[in-house]
C-alpha cells in the first residue's frame, strides 16, 4: 500500500505503479493524465474476470473488490514512465465509460474486451464483436465459460422409446 498518486488510491505491484480509480473517475483521470502529465498514449486496455481467483485481492483501502477489473496501460513518451489503472466493474452491471474520446486507439481494445468479457463501454462508437462471429453466444474469457466445450444438440429424435 502506498501514498495516493495523482490523487488516486495507489498500489505498488512488482515495482509498477497501479492506480485504482472508480468507474466515474476514470475518464476524467485519463484526460487529466493526458493533458497535464504527459501520458499521451494508451498502449493497452484489457480486463480480468476474478470469479475463480483463489488468492486474496490486493486492493487499497476503500476499494471494494468486484468480479471484473478493467486494466488500462498508459505510457508517457516524455517522462518514459508507465502507469496502470485498474477499475472495478461489478458483475450485475458490467458497464464502463469508454475512453474512446480521450484515446481513439482503444477502439479495438474495448471491442475486444466487450467481445471476450461482455463488458459494455458507454460511448463507444461501434461496440460489436471483433474476434468472435457476430452471432456468437457467451463471452469466452469469462471464468464460467468452459474451455473447449461444444454444446450438444440432439436433433432429429422424434420418437423417444
Amino acid at each position: 500500500m502506498t501514498e495516493p498518486v495523482h490523487g488516486m488510491p495507489a498500489t505498488e505491484s512488482r515495482g509498477q505503479t497501479v492506480l485504482h480509480p472508480s468507474r466515474d473517475e476514470l475518464v476524467k483521470l485519463v484526460l487529466d493524465l493526458r493533458d497535464d502529465e504527459g501520458f499521451r498514449v494508451c498502449v493497452d486496455l484489457t480486463a480480468v474476470d476474478y470469479l475463480a481467483y483463489s488468492a486474496p485481492r490486493e486492493l487499497p483501502d476503500g476499494i471494494a473488490a468486484e468480479r471484473f477489473e478493467i486494466v488500462v496501460g498508459l505510457l508517457s513518451h516524455t517522462k518514459k514512465e508507465r502507469l496502470r489503472l485498474r477499475v472495478q466493474v461489478p458483475a450485475d452491471d458490467p458497464t464502463c465509460p469508454s475512453l474512446f474520446d480521450v484515446h481513439p486507439g482503444v477502439e479495438a481494445l474495448e471491442r475486444e474486451v466487450f467481445d471476450m468479457f461482455g463488458i459494455r463501454f458507454d460511448g463507444h462508437p461501434d461496440l460489436s464483436r471483433i474476434l468472435m462471429p457476430e452471432d456468437w453466444e457467451g463471452y469466452p474469457l469469462r471464468k464460467d465459460y468452459p474451455v473447449g466445450a461444444i454444446p450438444v444438440q440432439f436433433k432429429g429424435i422424434t420418437d423417444a422409446r
Binding site: S13, R14, Q16, V43, T46, V106, L127, L131, E134, V147
Partner: protein
Amino acid sequence: MPADSVTAEERFRTAEGSQEITSRKGAGAAELLRELGSVLRLSETEAQKLADEAPAEDQTMIINMGPQHPSTHGVLRLMLELDGETVLRCKPIIGYLHTGMEKTGETLTYLQGGTNVTRMDYASPLHNELAFSLATETLLGIQDDVPERAQWIRMLLVELNRISSHLLFLATNGMDIGAVGMMIYGWRDREETLRLLETITGLRMNHNFIRPGGVAADLPDGWRDEVLRVIDAIPPRLEEYDLLMTGQPIWRERLQGVGVLTQEEAQALGTTGPILRSTGVEWDLRRDMPYLFYDQLDFAVVVGSYGDCFDRYAIRLNEVRESIKLVHQILDRMPPGDYRIQDRKVTPPPRARIDESMEALIHHFKIFTEGFKVPPGETYRAIESPRGELGCYMVSDGGGRPYRMHIRGPSFVNLQTLPHMLRGGLIADAVAVISSADPIMGEVDR
C-alpha cells in the same frame, strides 16, 4: 453509430450489432466528428464540410478486400467504400484466425505457455516468448537472478529474429508493390537466418527456446562462426536492395507520400514500432525503457519524417543494419556462465541426478506435470518487437497456471491506423499501405 438512423433491413443486426461497415446514411457529420475528430481534432464545421463533400450513397460502392486476398498477409478483410477509385471509408474486419490463445494460455502451465505464445506473432516467435518469460519472471521475483549469459543469449536470438522478420517484410513489401524479384531475395536471406536459428534452437519457427528462468539449451558448438557467416552475408545484400528499390524512381513514386500518418494521429491511435517512428517520434523500448542488457549496447533509433509508406520501408531496412551492429556487439560481449537459472523451484534437476536420486526424479516429474507455482499478483512487461510494443499482462493466483494471460499485440493496435492512412487515397495504394503496416494476423487475432 446511432442505432435509430438505420433500419433493420439496411443492416444485418444481431444482439451485439454488426461487424461490417454501415451504409452511408448514418455516416454524417456527427459520425465523422467522432471517428476522425477525436484523432484529427476536427471542429464541427470542418466535419460538416467533409460530410458535405462526400458523394451521395448511390454514387459509392462498398467492396470487400479479403479475407482471401494475397496482399492482406493472411486473413485480413477490409471493407472499402469507394467513389470511383478513391477510398472514402475503410473498416478492417478481423477474427478469421482467432483461436482463443489467451483462453488456452490459462490452461497451460508456465513451462507449456511458451509453446502457446510463440505461435501468436509467427514472424517473430522469440519476441513472444521473451515477453511471456519476462512477465513470468517478474511475478516470480527472479528477474534479476537470471544468469547473464542467458540474458545475452536471449538478446542474440531476438536480434537475429528481428533481422529475419524485417527481411520477411522487405520480401512481402516488394511482392505487394510489384517488385517480385525482391520477394525471392528477401525470402532467400530470411531463410538463411531461419537456418541459423534452427542450428541454435532446433526449429525454424515456433522455437519455445526462451523460457522462464533462461533459455532451453546452451549455444551449440561453432555457433559464433555460424552467426558471423550469416550476418556478414547480409550487409552487401542490403546494398543490393538499396540499388534495386530505395533509389529506384518507380519504387519511390509508388511509396512516397502514400498512406501518410501524422505524429498526433499516431500517438492518439496508440501505435508503436516502425509506424510510430516513421512519423518522427523517437521511441524504441530497447533504448527508452531498457530490458535485458540493451542499455549497455550502442545502436541508433531510426526515425522517419513524413510518416509515409516509404519512411516505414526505409526504417525497417535500416533497422536490419542496426540489428547487425547489435549482434556484433553481443558476440564480443557474450559472457561465460549458466544458460538458465539454478533455482530448483523453476528449473528441473540436471539429467545426471535423475539416475541416482529418487527425489530428483520426483522433482523432475512434478515440474513437468504440475509446473511450478507462481506467487499471486499481476504485472505487465513490454518489449520492442519488430512491429512495436509487445506486452504481456499476467495475473497469477498462486497456482501453476496463469490466472489470466493477455498479450498486447502491436499489430492488433497498429491495424487501427489503416482507415486513417487509406482515407482519400487510391485503391491501388491500399495494397502498399496494408503492406507497410506489416500486420501479422496470428497476432492480431490471437
